[in-house]
């Protein structure tokens, strides 16, 4: 690929004696949707967690726009560069949907005195727009712990989108989601791409990936075994062998 925004160089990661990533090198292009696919245990989530600094690599480097980011903490990366969603549904169980979006929008809310004296304010419209973007229709006062699995996926997607970022990481955005919500999420992602978002996602649903991804990376046993456009990937013999089992 050319004009990479994110460059991953020779990333190694082991858990005990098990090699999860074996020298992964990749370039992620700007303003495109790149999907990482692969069978269970292929190292996708490990790579994702290393890129977002939830995990630390054993060796290798990560560059964003030419600047090394491999030594930053996860919250620093999240604050400055990336937005992400998680594979499992996560929400703040006792906070309202409105609070979730405000937490994603706010930059100064960890500042105690600023928060008391001059808190950041966000109008209802910006919150409703964020929810409308992902198609989440629930009262703003609904608690994070009271909404369904699919709605939580939409809420975390809305949070990731409204939080300031340069790149969006989505970990299995449609896993376990009802078909009509999949359509909704696919539409949202296409809209975001048209708006110039750079998106990197992990997904098991091949149909979903082929439908929305501009570029697909296939991983197996901690290595990249193929990469290319959707057409190239679905006809790649190595991919059919390791991923589809043919």
């Amino acid at each position: 690929m050319t004009s990479s925004i994110l460059d991953i160089k020779a990333i190694h990661k082991s858990f005990g004696g098990n090699k999860a990533l074996n020298g992964i090198s990749l370039g992620i292009e700007a303003k495109k949707i790149t999907a990482i696919i692969g069978p269970n245990g292929s190292g996708k989530s490990t790579l994702f967690n290393i890129l977002t600094r939830v995990l630390k690599q054993d060796s290798g480097e990560i560059f964003f726009k030419g600047t090394e980011i491999s030594k930053k903490e996860d919250f620093q990366i999240s604050s400055e560069i990336f937005s992400r969603t998680f594979q499992e549904t996560r929400a703040f169980g006792y906070l309202s949907i409105e609070d979730h979006i405000k937490l994603a929008l706010a930059k100064e809310d960890s500042n105690f005195f600023r928060s008391l004296i001059k808190p950041e304010r966000f109008g209802k419209k910006i919150i409703l727009d964020a929810l409308a973007l992902v198609g989440l229709e629930k009262p703003l006062e609904s608690l994070g712990g009271d909404i369904s699995y699919g709605q939580t996926k939409l809420l975390t997607l809305a949070m990731a989108v409204v939080k300031s970022h340069e790149m969006l990481f989505l970990d299995e955005p449609v896993a376990g989601v009802a078909p009509f919500l999949r359509q909704q999420i696919a539409k949202t992602l296409q809209k975001l791409r048209q708006a110039g978002e750079t998106i990197l996602l992990i997904e098991h649903d091949m149909n979903f990936v082929v439908r929305i991804a501009d570029f697909i990376v296939v991983m197996d046993a901690g290595e990249v075994v193929a990469q290319g456009s959707a057409d190239e990937i679905v006809n790649d013999k190595e991919v059919l062998r390791c991923y589809l089992g043919r």
Binding site: T52, V54, E73, D74, F75, Q76, S78, S79, E80, S83, R84, F86, R90, A91, F92, G93, Y94, L95, D99, K102, L103, A104, A106, K107, E108, D109, S110, N111, F112, S115, L116, P119, E120, G144, G145, T156, M159, K163
Partner: protein, 284 residues
């Protein structure tokens, strides 16, 4: 009437102490079992500042809060890698260390003799001290309520519910924890300062683990993450032993019955109303 004023003052002090405990436990999800140590540190700081250095009462109480806050900052920095049960154990250990220091640093704390002093003229009577402490209690209540309703309060709620998700929003969860514990300890220190001037006597036994049971009863009864619940439960739990005091029982039985009543309150609430009277959060 003096008896009534002292009971009212005690309710106010335990309200601030319990609300500051709920601030870390219910609002932020941080189990700080060393909270009574900060209460004690505040009491000793205020007593020493007033008796040894002649610092005015209001400043001595303020120093008590600041001192407790600084020590808590040190503690949470040392416990950086700990969370949940491990943090609870470490802070409980901290409590015993501080209690031991109260007992053994005789030159400073008076050891088992404690520190005895008299209040200045303007708060000498129980009623004037009630008014004085009421003013401080209302200020603390206003400040804590405002804090939990502010955007920072929502960050604390997010920390309690899912730290990893909070970090993914670019918030430094460790700094948030430090702030939560510092604020909580500051108010525990203020409550300690008020308590020292309330009793006019500071002794290690006032800051032993039994006090933790009292504030735990208040927080569990009122409900985690509820200011209103803590206020209501403070009245009930502080008044409960006062009611027992008037029962026609032998004096040797009254003490154990008081302790038993707290245990009973906790068990009944956990069995029949796990969220307490006004709790917003389940006990994990």
């Amino acid at each position: 009437m003096n008896y009534l004023w002292t009971v009212c003052t005690q309710i106010g002090i335990f309200l601030i102490l319990s609300l500051s405990f709920n601030f870390s436990l219910g609002f932020s999800g941080l189990i700080n079992l060393g909270h009574i140590a900060f209460f004690g540190l505040g009491a000793y700081m205020a007593s020493i500042a007033y008796t040894v250095y002649g610092i005015p009462v209001i400043l001595a109480i303020l120093f008590a809060g600041v001192f407790a806050m600084l020590i808590s900052m040190l503690l949470i920095s040392l416990c950086r890698k700990l969370e949940g049960d491990y943090l609870a154990l470490a802070t409980l250990g901290f409590h015993f260390v501080i209690y031991s220091l109260f007992l053994n640093l005789e030159g400073l704390t008076g050891g088992t003799r404690g520190i005895v002093f008299t209040r200045p003229e303007f708060i000498k009577s129980e009623f004037s001290y009630l008014l004085f402490s009421l003013l401080i209690v209302l200020l603390c209540l206003f400040f804590l309520k405002r804090a939990v309703d502010s955007p920072f309060g929502k960050v604390l709620g997010a920390l309690r519910d899912d730290e990893q998700l909070l970090r993914s929003l670019g918030k430094n969860s460790f700094i948030v924890k430090v702030k939560a514990i510092c604020i909580s300890s500051f108010f525990a220190g203020i409550a300690g300062g008020l308590y020292a001037f309330y009793l006019k006597y500071t002794h290690p036994d006032f800051f032993f683990l039994a006090e933790l049971v009292v504030i735990l009863s208040i927080v569990i009864m009122g409900g985690l993450g509820s200011v209103r619940g803590t206020i209501v439960a403070s009245f009930i739990v502080v008044l409960l032993p006062e009611v027992i005091r008037f029962l026609p029982l032998h004096s040797s039985v009254i003490g154990p019955i008081r302790q038993l009543s707290y245990a009973l309150v906790i068990i009944l609430i956990l069995l029949f109303k796990p969220r307490g009277f006004f709790g917003k959060v389940d006990l994990k």
